[in-house]
Structures are given as structure tokens and as C-alpha cells.
Subunit: 514 residues, 2 copies
């Protein structure tokens, strides 16, 4: 058994079933081992950002890490932005990065790079294999490192080519990870605070708190019982929604709106969430969104069993979750494409148990209101703010939740960063409907330019924020990748396109003319 074979055996024995791959020469023995040894399925991406974003989406739905296969430091670099996003989402990923043989690294070859430094900048755990007979143990350590209690982490194993082809490989198995015991000592005091402060207290859901439908129902019952406010973080790795589920508002993206929403609270109870921070800094505006002096109480950290702690809090308060009244689904809209008609079209057509990928940026923000009437679904948002996550995330979510339909909401600007994901959707025939909101601009930046107080008069800045010369033709871009598509300019055609796409149970792109 060579080192590469021990790596594949170890991944398979440790529960890693999928490898998103973009291989190069230094990974050829790993490719050969994946070929020979059953247990790890390979999915090819034509760009590394597809590979890493897919691994993020996969973790969020499957709850277990995928491996990635990347090619030296520059290949890792191409996947870095979506690993940043995955780290912020607390997704677990095991990156395998091929590198030059240890002897060859002394020389200034073209692809020589500092893979440890590049990988270290966004990995929670990184190790470079030093011998073929240690690769199995190193891989088991990587799989263990990709999990931190209830959430995941970025683990990167650098595999020099000679440790892959060298003899003496020994397979290993990663021990199962345990979710740490919840520190329930704080529960009675928090229960008291929520009762006492009532509407001056905010119960804020994040990580496992927003990701679990039963936890959401418990939180809603706690809020109804104590009179406290209840919200979720602006971005959530996974958030169930739709009919029969409580409607939980999210802290707004815009700083002024967030400050207004949080005005008047003096107690903030974190259930898997972090102290709310503005996405960006703006001249003269604060970074923290909660009023100065607000007491921060941590009910559970993200790596804890957040639903279990909410249950303990509900028990302490004597609260039982109540059924949520069903909102009727919205009617099929007609007429012009507006934020309202787009939202209604999506909520009207969304199939049961769909997974929604939200990288719609400016357009996506307006949808929350209508989605309460949609069929029950999971909502996945880009977590680290690095755009180019959506299409790869949809690939991974579809593979992590087999049989469930996926809807990817994309800005045209954001979709361009990793459009190669369309090819993997076609290759794997994944049931993903992609809506591209074609406003032909970096619309969010047109707003941000005003938000930061920058004054602009000329054409140069306008040109840097506009994508209309030439216009991107998304139907052709999709076709080029092997994905059929259609452009729609009315609510009726949008409804039909969504129905057709979901019915096809295959990749399908809709360019929404804005």
C-alpha cells in the first residue's frame, strides 16, 4: 500500500464519502488510488472555487465533511475565497493539497509555492505529510480536525508527491467526534433575565439555533412566553423556513436599519450566535449593532448542542412549543417583474423540501417576507461575504441532500465568479434551478458608494459598477456549460420557467431580466 492508497482507505473508513476534485500532476497517485479503492466518490470541478464551495454546501446539508483535491499553493489559492466562506459558516472540510515531492521542494520550480502559508491563512488545522507511512494517521487527524463539536472546521492536509507514491502506507480511522456537554449552569439565570427584561431582551439564534426547525419552534415559544424579542443573525448557514414554521426576522444588513431594530434592548442572549457586528465599517457609524452597555449572555456557543440548550431553557420556563398557523401560499403573480412578483413567483412554485441557496445579494434581500407562505424549505446563505459561493454551494447542497430540489438565487455579478459550477451541475445532472437576477450592475456597490459617503460625479466610477457593456447573455453561458436555460421578462414567464425547471429534476437556468 502506498501513501495515497492509505489516504483513500482512511478517508473512506472515517466517513468521508465524497471528494470534490480539481487534480494536477502532483495528485496523480491520489487519483489512481481513488480509482482503485471503492468508498469515496469523486466529483470534478473545472475551477477550485467550485470544489471548495461545493464542499461547504455539502457539509451544510449532509452534516459531514467532504474531501477536496487541490493542486499545490496556487490551486489552494483559487479555492481560498470559498474556504473563507466555509470557515465562517462553520462547515467542515478536509482539503487534500498535492505538493512537490519533499526532495523537489528545495529547487525553484515554476509551481514551487509556500502551500503551508497559503493554506494556513484560512485553515483551522494544517499539516504537511512527511512520510508515506504517516499519511494514514495524518489523514485521520485531518478528519478529526474538520469537526469541532456540533460545527465544522477547515482542515488541510498537504500531500507531497513522494509521500503519495512511497511504499509503507498504513490506513487509519478517525475517532468519532463528540458534541461537548452543554454548560447548563447559565440556564436558570438566563430564564430569569428573559422574564424580567421582556421586550428589552433579545434571544438571538445562530448556528444550531437557526438551523433546526424544532429549535426555532422552541425559541418562538420562549419568546411568546417571556415577551422577549427573537431574531436570527443576518447570515445563517442553514435556516428552515416556510409554511408551518415560525417566522423569525433576521438582523438587517444595513447598519442604520440594524441599529433601529436593536434599539431599546439591554440584554442579548446568544443561542449559537455571535455579538452582531456590521458587515462593513462606515464613517461615523458603530461596528457593534447592539446598544452600548447591552449585557451579553451566552446560552450556547456554536459548537455546543444549541437545540438541546434551548430545550433546557424551555423546560426551565415551563414552555412547550405551539403549532404555527399555516400561512396560505401566495397566488401565482402576473405582470411586470418587480421584487414583489419575483418573490411571489418563487414562493408559489417552490417544491416541498427544497434547498434555497441565497446569493441574490440586492435582489435576494427582498424575498424573506414572501417565503413564509412557501412550502417548507431550508435557506442557505453565503456566510463569509466572499461572493462566488452560490453556484458551487448549490452543487454541494444537491449532493449532500439527494432527492431534494435546489433553487440557487444569484446576482449576475456574483454568479460570474464561479460560473464553471454550471458544468458540474450538468455532468452530475443535479436538480438545481438557477435564477440569475440580471440587473447588469454591481447594484450593491452602487448603494455602498453612497453608504460610505463617497461622492462621485463621473463616468469612471459608474463604469466600474456597471456590467451592461456588453450585457452578459446568461442563456448562452448556461448552454456553453451544458445547462439549458431561458430568459424571462414577465412574472408569468418566470412562474412557467420555475415550474419547468423544478419538473425537469435537472439543471436549468433562468435569467430574470431586471
Amino acid at each position: 500500500m502506498n501513501g495515497a492508497e492509505s489516504l483513500v482507505h482512511t478517508l473512506a473508513a472515517s466517513g468521508v464519502e465524497l471528494c470534490f476534485a480539481n487534480p494536477g500532476t502532483s495528485e496523480m497517485h491520489f487519483v489512481a488510488a481513488l480509482d482503485r479503492i471503492p468508498g469515496v466518490r469523486c466529483v470534478l470541478g473545472l475551477f477550485e472555487g467550485v470544489v471548495t464551495g461545493a464542499a461547504d454546501g455539502y457539509w451544510r446539508m449532509a452534516g459531514k465533511p467532504a474531501a477536496t483535491l487541490l493542486h499545490l499553493g496556487p490551486g489552494f489559492g483559487n479555492g481560498l475565497a470559498n474556504l473563507h466562506n466555509a470557515g465562517k459558516a462553520r462547515s467542515g472540510i478536509v482539503n487534500v493539497v498535492g505538493d512537490h515531492g519533499l526532495e523537489h521542494m528545495r529547487f525553484e520550480s515554476p509551481l514551487k509555492s509556500d502551500a503551508l502559508a497559503i493554506a494556513g491563512s484560512v485553515s483551522h488545522w494544517v499539516r504537511s505529510c512527511q512520510a508515506a507511512d504517516e499519511v494514514g494517521a495524518d489523514a485521520a487527524a485531518a478528519v478529526r480536525a474538520a469537526r469541532d463539536g456540533a460545527v465544522g472546521r477547515i482542515a488541510t492536509l498537504i500531500l507531497p508527491a513522494d509521500t503519495a507514491w512511497g511504499a509503507g502506507g498504513r490506513a487509519a480511522v478517525a475517532a468519532a467526534a463528540a458534541v461537548p456537554n452543554v454548560p447548563r449552569d447559565a440556564v436558570p439565570a438566563i430564564a430569569r433575565q428573559l422574564r424580567e427584561r421582556g421586550p428589552k431582551a433579545l434571544l438571538l439564534l445562530g448556528a444550531g439555533g437557526s438551523a433546526s426547525a424544532p429549535a426555532q419552534q422552541l425559541a418562538a415559544a420562549i419568546a411568546a412566553h417571556t415577551g422577549c424579542r427573537l431574531m436570527a443573525e443576518f447570515y445563517n448557514a442553514r435556516m428552515p423556513g416556510g409554511r408551518g414554521r415560525p417566522r423569525i426576522g433576521r438582523i438587517p444588513y444595513a447598519v442604520d436599519a440594524a441599529l433601529a431594530q436593536l434599539a431599546g434592548i439591554d440584554t442579548l442572549v446568544l443561542a449559537g450566535a455571535a455579538d452582531p457586528i456590521g458587515f462593513f465599517a462606515y464613517p461615523g457609524k458603530p461596528s457593534r449593532m447592539a446598544p452600548a452597555g447591552t449585557a451579553l449572555l451566552t446560552l450556547a456557543a456554536p459548537q455546543h448542542d444549541v437545540p438541546g440548550t434551548l430545550q433546557a431553557l424551555a423546560d426551565e420556563l415551563g414552555v412547550k412549543p405551539a403549532a404555527v398557523a399555516d400561512t396560505p401560499p401566495p397566488a401565482a403573480p402576473s405582470g411586470a417583474l418587480t421584487p414583489e412578483s419575483i418573490a411571489a413567483a418563487i414562493a408559489h412554485t417552490l417544491p416541498e423540501q427544497a434547498v434555497v441557496i441565497d446569493e441574490g445579494v440586492t435582489t435576494g434581500r427582498g424575498l424573506a417576507g414572501a417565503m413564509g407562505g412557501a412550502a417548507p424549505h431550508d435557506w442557505l446563505a453565503v456566510m463569509g461575504g466572499a461572493i462566488g459561493w452560490g453556484l458551487p454551494g448549490a452543487v454541494g447542497a444537491a449532493l449532500g441532500a439527494p432527492g431534494r430540489p435546489v433553487l440557487a438565487l444569484e446576482g449576475d455579478g456574483s454568479a460570474m465568479y464561479t460560473l464553471q459550477a454550471l458544468w458540474t451541475m450538468a455532468r452530475e445532472q443535479l436538480p438545481v434551478v438557477v435564477l440569475v437576477f440580471a440587473n447588469r450592475a454591481y447594484r450593491i456597490l452602487q448603494g455602498e458608494l453612497q453608504g460610505v459617503g463617497a461622492t462621485v460625479s463621473g463616468d469612471k466610477a459608474r463604469a466600474m459598477l456597471s456590467l451592461d457593456q456588453p450585457a452578459l447573455d446568461w442563456v448562452s453561458l448556461a448552454r456553453g456549460h451544458g445547462v439549458p436555460g431561458v430568459r424571462v421578462e414577465s412574472a408569468e414567464t418566470l412562474v412557467k420557467a420555475l415550474r419547468d425547471g423544478f419538473a425537469s429534476r435537472a439543471p436549468w437556468l433562468v435569467e430574470v431580466a431586471l
Copy 2:
């Protein structure tokens, strides 16, 4: 004047005329300053790898650095692979990376990243601005750092948002860089060695040696006079070729072929070149290509005035460059598309003073023979081995050499990494003809799999190296980005497509069916 304005004034005063940009919120004041202050032209890329690869191509033709505008650590990550390539090409680039305001960095915001670590992994120089009134001086230092004698370096300036919007900016100017004096003490001894060793000596051109047509002619005359061998490195940042220019072989990519070519030498004279190293390591094969015990003599390092040193060597030897006999251009080919007919079609149609971008990978390697009969041109190769450089490099080369036609040779696998560059070509209406060699495979890896001795029998490895399910439709991909194109399946239609493309003096893509 705010910090961002002082930055633009400093760049313009220091000779930076172009900024390849992919902006985000934290760069809005820089965008506003670029808008208001004349002197720096902005070119938008829809992905950061386009931005950084274009800056590399621009340096190689313009001989001066462009700026890039990147968005925090993840944005830099997206540009990292082509900065790796640019560093290996010794291209000078001034990266401006927007970051959170200094106060905001304390908090765990979604886009918080370790920009210094990410940028530091591939930059020769990196600095984070600490105050608005220091931004100008920092920018001048960055421009200086982007040059090292005759070659360039990667300089990265991190610009926290509050140093951009803060008042008190002061513009500065980067002092002009000098090319260090050539250490000519070694010249007489090297002249003696070349005379004595004759065919046992190899004069190896790199950097300024291969990049200058007069230097090539001097080197050819020196080889003819002394009987030494003459070659260039396998990859060259810029290498003139075509009719009326000496034919200088390059060290082969394949290790066995390189070892065979260098067999029998005992003296290696480096003229801007480095000791030849294998691209990858292979089991049982050496990393160094020169025979063990070969004497290494450095005539000039890359940052020196390599052409001037070759002139000194020629003077020492009493050698004058002779005119090179003109090779007749090849006839227009007909019939099937073969490596030979493709090479003839390119050599037949290439316009005078074209710039050829070579990321053709397996197909590109076969062209060298025919190009001696082509019109005089410059040949630019990807230098760091990170694919995805070609299309962005073509954007930059076209902007760095206004009026000259550009031909980009691309593998279909490599072109997919940064295909968004097509949009910038269309937006700027650059005279770039793109040939995509559509073999629908990672053909190079199919060879490498055998090269490393990996044995494969099954479909999984084949699937990871094949791009045929589904086939990429390059004409649609180009159209989607606003670039017209055509697919050709014969030599005659390839010749016509090349002629049409060059005549259009605008972007044009040809999918070459292999």
C-alpha cells in the same frame, strides 16, 4: 485630500497608468478618487484572477507596473494564482487591497480575514496602511518595490477603509528605479570557458536574455563563434520569434527529453536564466536537468542588464551579430486538423508584430517548429504553472501593447479557469483572437498519470481527466461574454477563422475541434 485621493495622485505621479479592478465596499473611496482624479485608467474584471493575470500580461509588454484593486483577503485569494504566475515571470504589479477600517478589524465580521498573511504568501513586499496621511508615502514605496532592477516584483498595499476616507492625505512620488550595474568581471573567464568547452558548454537565456531580439542575435553569434550550445528556458516571460530572428530551442518540458538534450554538457552559462529544474518530481528521476558536476557560471542575473552583458561578452570574443536568413512563411494548410496543420495555419496567418499568449498546454508545445516561418512576433508563456493565466494575460498584453494584435492559445481545460476575461476583452474591444484547443480532456494529466508511474484501470480516473460529459460549447461561452466565435473542424476553416479574427481587430474566439 483624503487617503484614497493621495493614493491615486501618487500612482499617477509615479507612472502607474492603469488599474485593473474588481472593487467591493471597502474600496469605494478609492473608486471615487479614481473617478475624480485623472491619470489612472480603470479596467474592470469580473473575477480577480482576470485582474491579476492582466496586470502580469501588461507588465510584460509595457515594461511598467499596473495597479490592481482587490477586495479584502478573499478577493486577493481569487487573484493569488495569477500573482504566483506573475511573481515567477518577474512581472511588477502594485496590488491595492481594500480592507476593513482599523477599528472594525477587532470584530469578527463576515469578511474579516488575515489579508497580510494571504497577501504575504505570494508578495515580495507587503504593507498595511496605518493612517491616511501615510497612504501616499506607502503607495510610493509600493511602486518602488514593484521593480527590482530590470525585472519586476509583486508589491501589495493593504488599504484599511478608514485610511482611505480619512483626511490629511499627502501625495508622494516613487523615485525611478535603476538597473544595477552588470558585474562584468566574470565576462573574460566566461568567454574563455565558452571557447574551450565548445559544444560541452551551454549558453542558457532567460529573463532579459530571451526577451530581447538583439540579445538573441548576439547570443546566436556567440554560439556560432565559440561552438557552444544555445538554448532558452522552457518557459519565457517574453521571447521574440519569427522570420529574421534566430531559432533558439527551449529546454523540453518532459524530464527524459530535457535530460537527453543536456547530456554531454559540463559548463552551463546563465544569461538571466536559472539552473534548469524539472517542472514536477517523478519517481526515480532527478530534479536538476543538467548532468551532475556541471559547472554553473552566472553571466547575468535576471535583474541585471542581460542584453548589455551579452554585448560585453560578444565584445570580449570579437563577435558581431550576423543577419538571420529569412525562412519562407508556410503555405496555407488544408485537410484535417493535425498538430502540423494547426501550426501551419497559425504561422501562415499571424500578423506582423503579433503578441502570442501560450497556454495551449499539450497542443501549444508542438508549435515551436513552425513559428520560425511566421511574421515577427513576441511569445509569452505562463510562467508559474498555475493555469488560468492565458485569457487574462491576453487582456493585459493587448492593453500594454496598444495597436498590436494578440493571439491567445488556450487548452479547453486551462481556458475554463478564468473565462470571465472574455468579457473584459469585449468591453474594451481588444484585438484578441482566442484559439481554444478543444480536446475535451485534461490531456496533459492523461500523460502525467503515466509519467508518474501510476497504474489505473478504472473509469473513475478517466472521468476525472475527461471534460466530455457534457462537452463545453465554446462558441456559446464566448457569446455569453459578448465575444463572437466559430467552431472549426478543418485546416481550411481554421485559416479562414484566423484571418477573419485578425481582420476584425476585435475579440474573436475559435474553437478548434480536436
